[in-house]
């Protein structure tokens, strides 16, 4: 009998948590350094409304930022890929900008955009934008030769070629970019929240540090991990739903 696909990962997770729990108990590790799993659960249950409220702030920043970055990244890539000249003019600039560690501009964003959610959203956009641009451009320039020949032999116009072949062919790669971006998106939101801690789970982690409430910090971290995983799977399932053929050409 074959075991369902979820069994092995399930035992992997349960086993890891068990080892962690056992280690904290055996070596008498104080919760200040490494809280045991039950400490984290009780930290959450002490103030669930507060934590969920802050988590929601992080989620909205992440989703808005990711949405803006995806739209802008797609738009920019489409324009860049349309013309060799524009591509050659702007691509080096993008590569240079992309190699700037985005985390380092977090404090500047506060100066430019104030203390509200805007600098956080902007940080998410900064982090998500480039993977989308790069993946989309790669996708748009990866049309197989035989498909280009095919539409050329039919005397297709530039626009027909673009809409009927190049763009759809790029979609699987665009989703690769979106998946990379969405897994970085939460990082962007938290980094911005930590450098300017007024709202969100990043702020919770900073505050718990000042009050030596390590279990609370861990509760926030667990929530962040959950948010990240859920957002990733949302994008991945959107891909599976919209592009059932993508596995056939990437596999």
């Amino acid at each position: 009998m074959r075991t369902p696909r979820v069994v092995a990962p399930f035992f992997g997770v349960v086993g890891t948590v068990a080892v962690w729990w056992l280690a904290t108990a055996l070596f008498h590790i104080r919760p200040l350094f490494l809280p045991a799993p039950p400490d984290i659960v009780s930290a959450f249950r002490r103030q669930p409304a507060y934590l969920l409220h802050e988590a929601w702030a992080t989620v909205t920043e992440t989703i808005i930022g990711f949405g803006i970055a995806a739209a802008a990244g797609l738009g920019v890539a489409v324009v860049l890929a349309a013309s060799r000249t524009v591509e050659r003019a702007l691509l080096p600039l993008f590569v240079a900008l992309n190699s700037v560690p985005k985390v380092s501009v977090a404090p500047l964003l506060v100066v430019w955009l104030g203390f509200g959610p805007r600098p956080k959203i902007f940080m998410v956009v900064l982090i998500c934008f480039f993977p989308v641009v790069v993946a989309t451009m790669a996708g748009l320039s990866s049309t197989p030769a035989e498909l280009s020949d095919l539409v050329r032999s039919l005397s297709a116009s530039w626009w027909q070629t673009y809409v009927k072949v190049r763009l759809p062919w790029a979609l699987p790669q665009i989703f690769v970019g979106l998946k990379v971006a969405v897994s970085l998106a939460v990082v962007g939101a938290v980094v911005a929240e930590i450098s300017n801690p007024n709202r969100g789970l990043g702020a919770v982690i900073v505050l718990s540090g000042t009050s030596f409430d390590t279990p609370l910090a861990f509760a926030a971290i667990v929530l962040l991990a959950l948010i990240s995983v859920v957002l990733f799977y949302l994008v991945a399932s959107a891909e599976r739903l919209l592009l059932p053929w993508a596995r056939a050409i990437t596999g």
């Binding site: 197989p144 035989e146 498909l147 020949d149 032999s153 039919l154 005397s155 009927k164 979609l171 053929w245």
Partner: protein, 249 residues
């Protein structure tokens, strides 16, 4: 229908120009089926791409229907080694692609697409996506697409070479039937001597690097022809032996 006069073509490579074809003269009549064989790198595909207007010759003239070929023409269709189907389109929508691009009336061509799909035995698979089909079925769909807009010239670049032996034979048989039926002028590039003898009125043998017409062999066996047991076995064997000789020496 197709005429090549002193056609030469060279590709610019890193180590200077590489001559693919040299001084090729060839006349192909309306409705004729011409096979082109030669070893790898003899410029067979280049010859086809020149007729298709995908590339222009370094020197010489290529004419289709009396008109110099400078770019692809809608009445010349191409079939490639790969099926080149759009993976996100169903079989039917792939077959209808030429009608969309050439802005032909959809209802009439939807009917024709259905007929073609039935002719090649893909009935029942119209709504499937390409990756759900076998390689042979994909190439059948590609053949339907090539025939959709009733091209006068059909150019085929080793269309069956990615398929297994049995499927190749099956498809070659089908191609013969379709050609007898619709009579498009056909240029068929292949590695396979058997396929060439089965299908062609004339077989053009190219010598390698640069490709030159070595010999044109007339195949006067009446159709329909078939692989294997066949009333003209002796002639077939003779032609196969002759072509073998020409290719290997």
């Amino acid at each position: 229908m197709i005429s090549l006069v002193e056609v030469s073509h060279a590709f610019r490579g890193r180590a200077g120009a590489v001559e693919a074809l040299a001084e090729v003269d060839l006349e192909i009549g309306e409705g004729e089926f011409v096979a082109v064989i030669g070893r790898s790198g003899c410029g067979k595909s280049t010859l086809l791409r020149l007729i298709a207007g995908l590339i222009t010759p370094s020197s010489g003239r290529v004419r289709v229907d009396g008109v110099m070929v400078t770019r692809p023409r809608p009445d010349v269709a191409m079939l490639f080694q790969q099926p080149a189907l759009l993976p996100w389109r169903s079989v039917r929508d792939n077959v209808l692609l030429p009608a969309e691009i050439l802005r032909l009336p959809r209802p009439a061509y939807a009917e024709r697409a259905q007929e073609l799909i039935e002719t090649v035995g893909l009935a029942g698979f119209e709504k499937r996506l390409p990756h759900e089909l076998s390689g042979g079925m994909q190439q059948r769909a590609a053949l339907c697409r090539a025939l959709l807009h009733r091209p006068r010239v059909l150019l085929m670049d080793e269309p069956f070479s990615a398929l297994d032996a049995l499927t190749r034979e099956e498809l070659a048989g089908e191609l013969q039937r379709i050609h007898m039926d619709l009579r498009p002028t056909t240029v068929f590039v292949t590695h396979s001597i058997q396929e060439a003898v089965l299908l062609a009125d004339r077989v053009v043998v190219l010598s390698p690097r640069p490709g030159q017409v070595r010999k044109i062999v007339e195949i006067a066996i009446p159709r329909p022809r078939s692989f294997g047991h066949n009333a003209h076995l002796e002639e077939v064997t003779e032609h196969v032996a002759e072509l073998h000789e020409l290719l290997l020496t």
